[in-house]
């Protein structure tokens, strides 16, 4: 049995207007099935609005599914689990808390804010290059630094499954590549399993063991690409023939271009 297993997950949104159901129900996800092993890095790649974020939220237990099953470590997910860490599209930090208090927020909620938690928060901040910024308010940080702090917050309670929803989508290309390396480094140290939503082909291939390419809505998994590039990965790999072949394959699956076979 795999660490994470999704079978036939389906999500239908009823369109409501003035409290009445109108029109055809909107199928956001249709029959999504996938599985991943412990410690694996999985990318969900698809065009924006295809429903991949919805699927991530279902895995997180934040929203219910219409049909199908989501099992993590053999247990059906019906509600959020404190063993998951979630990273949002925006840094989503609390403007009234400094960086340290933002990072420690999950520990407060879990009622485990103690000396050990503080030490771990400092350790994480150092790991992401925010050493010395613990006392600073979020607005004084750049977008990239804010997202680093958000990453620390997602990791502070030592989740075994990290769910990331296009976390670097708003960053510029160079910062994004830097964050990719940082994420791989952190993942190597924490051994966390990661499910990562993105619409960047390069990012998906660079980060993952497994890329699942989604079709346009309703989201169906159009292709599963195993990325057999070795870790640790480096920027040099981005220009290898093997890397580019994987990118081409993902691009074809997305329907961006058609190649004469």
């Amino acid at each position: 049995m795999s660490f994470g297993e999704l079978v036939g997950v389906r999500r239908v949104f009823e369109q409501q207007r003035y409290g009445r159901v109108v029109g055809e129900p909107l199928v956001a996800i249709d029959e999504a099935s996938l599985s991943f092993e412990e410690g694996e890095f999985v990318a969900l790649l698809g065009p924006s609005g295809c429903g991949k974020t919805t699927l991530l939220r279902i895995i997180a237990g934040l929203i219910p599914k219409t049909a199908g099953s989501v099992r993590i470590r053999g247990e059906e997910v019906t509600e959020p689990h404190p063993d998951f860490g979630f990273v949002f599209q925006t840094p989503n930090l609390m403007p009234w808390r400094n960086v340290l208090d933002n990072v420690l927020f999950p520990m407060e909620i879990l009622r485990k804010r103690d000396q050990a938690a503080r030490a771990r928060a400092f350790e994480l901040l150092e790991m992401v290059g925010l050493k010395g910024f613990h006392d600073v308010r979020p607005h004084q940080l750049s977008g990239g630094m804010q997202q680093r702090a958000a990453l620390c917050r997602a990791l502070v309670h030592q989740p075994t499954l990290l769910l990331m929803d296009e976390p670097f989508g708003a960053l510029d290309e160079l910062t994004r590549m830097e964050m990719n390396d940082l994420l791989l480094d952190i993942r190597a140290r924490t051994k966390a399993t990661v499910v990562f939503v993105t619409h960047s082909i390069a990012e998906a291939v660079y980060l993952s063991d497994q890329v699942l390419v989604f079709s346009k809505r309703p989201a169906r998994i159009a292709e599963r690409i195993a990325v057999d590039l070795p870790y640790p990965r480096s920027a040099r790999m981005r220009y290898t023939e093997q890397f580019m072949a994987l990118e081409r394959r993902a691009g074809r699956a997305l329907g961006i271009f058609h190649e004469a076979a």
Partner: protein, 255 residues
Amino acid sequence: MSDNWKRLILPPLGIILLLLVWQWYCVQFKVAEAVLPKPTQVAGAIIARWDLLLEEGWVTLKATLYGFLLALGIGIPIAVAISNSKILNWMFSPLLIALQSVPKVALAPIVLVWLGTGIESKLAIAWLVAFFPVVIDTAAGLQSTPPELLELARSLRASRWQIFWKVQLPAALPFVMTGAKVAVTLAVIGAVIGEFIGSSEGLGHLLLSATSQINTPLAFASLFALAALGMLAYLLVVIVEWLLRPLLPPAPTPH
């Protein structure tokens, strides 16, 4: 001259200019003291009745601040209730708006019948006038909590209590402060209405008795005292806001 200096010097300059025009007008057109006293006469009345103004001002200030605190103490829980419960919101929001639409002066005599001529009536009227902006602003603040923050809390299975104390309330705090600033100036008005309708003390009462004796300089002196009182009450809220600044979002930095 730097902007800081201008900000320090220009407000008194504006007042002085106004007083000069006022003085000139009274002298030029020989306005009767009973109609409009000269600023110098008002100043004379302020100096002569300084202790009386302070004494009555203190009464009004107490009514204002207690009424204001009552508005916060009752307004915030009401806002919490209606923004957390659709049923309560639908049930009571129209009622709140209806209450707000009734002129408080019209309610004052009824309040007087219920609570008598003591401080209770003044508090009730100050509260009635001041609590609406507190409710509206606090409710708006609570409802404008960023949904992503609520989702973050939910992803950690935070209890409703934790979500309220750690997410919703801090997020709403700037709105509460805005409501409080409006409320405190309204509370002054409420307290004075109370003193007008049926009280034997306070600046409102002093104003009323001075005009009935055609002692317009004293009436104007009480008006000035009321204005000063209003600014003082507002300043107190600003000080509280300043003390709370670690919990408030940063002011946008000028470029």
